[in-house]
Symmetry: C2
């Protein structure tokens, strides 16, 4: 990890809304910029649009190579011509979340509250945002694209939180919602892991109270540790055992480890090498203040909170068709919370499909090759299209 690393968000396709957005915290944020990518063609009837909401560290490059890393799109397997989310048929819109660092307004944007010298970033002064704020920013984008009604909103993990929030905030604006490997609230354990990640960033000497860019630094070590820890939670114990077990890499002595005559101590476990790579590569594509802003938004997510804890009430009378998917080995967003969601939807007689996919890949399964999952998504979208009389 390079403590002199710096994060450059680069240039991205975006739309600017001069009128801005009233945030839930009471701050009026203007202008509002929403970066996004689209795939496929909007039909003449404008009835084939699908919004894909990305997860915590995702972005809008869902089906094309990432401009910073050169890696394939994070869901290229799922989105494209002939894919389960078929861009020969659907017009896919993937926005970068509010608070993110790939072109949408976030902590790395120039602050617009009249404070600072006119060219200064928000940094930690960026107003706190919620998942609903993210969705309302996306709603502005959808309207801007001339779309009155979406075919569907799809998202996994934090993307699933946004998909659920879409259904609650704009229930008449889409036919279907697919909340995948997600939850209608962040649990105590979820919050706990996020908090440790934040404390790790705060502990980094290059954090500089959140104004690290003024020093030409990023809190690379703290952010890498946060990412390493989070990465463990994305994988199942089975997946870690299958991928790495107790295998070692010979002679890859950690610089901090003591010198020794016994060869085993000059080795590191493959799982350590893997996590270190995950941590160090992350800091080159993600801004620490965005990480803090977005994890905080996740922590505050609780759809039932506005209804005295009654999750059903959030969905009362919803016309939306839901397809809830969980993965059997996901312990971060376990099947039990998906069942709570499904039960709440059932109590208000919502139209719900629920599938638990057998997988040993943990939370990350929604991003990985799971044929049953692909079939579920493809089949559900086809069913909704047929029901709606789409060609």
């Amino acid at each position: 990890m390079n403590s002199t690393a710096s994060f450059d968000p680069g240039k991205h396709t975006s739309v600017t809304f001069p009128e801005g957005l009233d945030l839930e915290c009471g701050v009026h944020l203007a202008p509002l910029e929403v970066a996004y990518r689209t795939y496929g063609t909007l039909s003449e009837k404008r009835d084939n649009a699908i919004v894909i909401c990305h997860a915590l560290t995702g972005d809008q490059y869902v089906a094309e190579s990432h401009p910073l890393t050169g890696k394939p799109g994070w869901w290229a397997r799922m989105v494209g011509p002939g894919c389960p989310i078929d861009t020969d048929r659907f017009f896919v819109i993937c926005p970068n979340v509010l608070g993110g660092c790939m072109g949408s307004t976030g902590p790395r944007s120039v602050r617009s509250d009249g404070k600072g010298n006119g060219s200064e970033c928000w940094g930690t002064d960026f107003p706190p945002i919620t998942v609903r704020d993210m969705v309302r920013a996306q709603h502005s984008l959808v309207k801007h694209l001339g779309i009155e009604r979406l075919f569907a909103v799809v998202g996994g993990s934090m993307g699933g939180m946004q998909a659920l929030e879409w259904a609650v905030t704009y229930p008449h604006m889409m036919l279907a919602v697919l909340p995948l490997a997600t939850s209608p609230f962040h649990s105590a354990q979820n919050i706990a892991f996020n908090e440790v990640g934040r404390q790790s960033v705060f502990a980094d000497p290059d954090w500089h109270g959140g104004r690290y860019w003024e020093y030409g630094k990023v809190p690379a070590r703290g952010l890498a540790v946060a990412r390493m820890m989070a990465h463990i939670t994305y994988l199942s114990e089975e997946a870690l055992t299958r991928k790495f077990g107790r295998r070692v890499r010979r002679g890859q002595l950690a610089s901090q480890a003591p010198e020794t005559s016994l060869s085993m101590f000059s080795d590191i476990f493959e799982v350590e090498s893997y996590l270190r790579y995950q941590g160090s590569s992350f800091v080159n594509r993600f801004d620490a203040n965005s990480y803090l802003t977005i994890t905080r938004a996740m922590d505050w997510f609780d759809l039932a909170a506005e209804h005295e804890g009654d999750l059903s009430a959030a969905f009362a009378g919803t016309p939306v068709r839901f397809c809830v998917v969980s993965f059997s080995s996901d312990w971060l967003f376990p099947t039990s919370v998906s069942r709570q969601l499904v039960n709440a939807l059932n109590r208000v007689a919502a139209n719900v499909s629920f599938v638990e996919i057998e997988s040993d890949k943990g939370h990350d399964a929604f991003l990985l090759d799971e044929p049953d999952f692909d079939r579920t998504v493809r089949g559900f979208l086809c069913g909704v299209a047929e029901h709606a009389g789409l060609a």
Copy 2:
């Protein structure tokens, strides 16, 4: 967290072995100091001694108040007159592990390899140790106390690893072994969490390459983050939800959080407050280099490794009576690995009792009030005593 904090190990009852110990890494460590506490009275026949092995961050103060924190002994519920491990009946010995920081030889000891200025600590130059090294140091203590044969060895978590290692290394030196909430090997996930904790310590600016005491510092923030993360793994998701849920503490704004007009953002979740306290209090009683040394020893623990992966072979012909205990909600050392251990013991026709205790308290359950667990330990020890003809 106070970055100018310093850790003072204080004075402890100990015995010094000038002849030292040949470590598995090939280093000869001399002198060897083993700090310990005893409770109860050794019988005339010297046949009532129980060694209790402590966990990663435990110490020898199992049944009396801790000299640094003033808190009750970590297993005061279990060890004492009339307790499940009854000190009216048994003579209990609890050593501080080799590599620890409460009086036994460890990274804070003066280095004895002829390097340095004669008063300098080992620090990161402390030789790497294994769980077997820990047990061999304890064996020296037991011999020193004039005990040829132990009644039992008991330990939870890393203490259970030591208990298992006792059974493998000295199978004729005890009647019974109780491995509790433990595993015969460290899993990929276990290693992964340890590695993130270590990286967090390395990332602390007060780490100073492991020579922090020369600067009057401890890597308090990094060690606190490591402890916070580890603490999440000690609790179940259910326990976190029951204890904290999504409850907030009003107005406890994190100093790093942005100012805002919305009250909810000036709150922190109770689970965050709890973890911060766990992290910050830990650094006053534990040495960072000990944390690194001991976590590494845990990572290398794999009883089957010396027998081409055949765990049974490690126990072939063992005369020891085993009582293996797991807890249903322990995801760090889950019941499935206890079953692997029991199956291996069964394959060599060892005398094994196995109990999975129903509990929602996670890994920490072995330290907490679980009446079924207490009854299991008391009953097993009584049975062994009866079988052995102890009064």
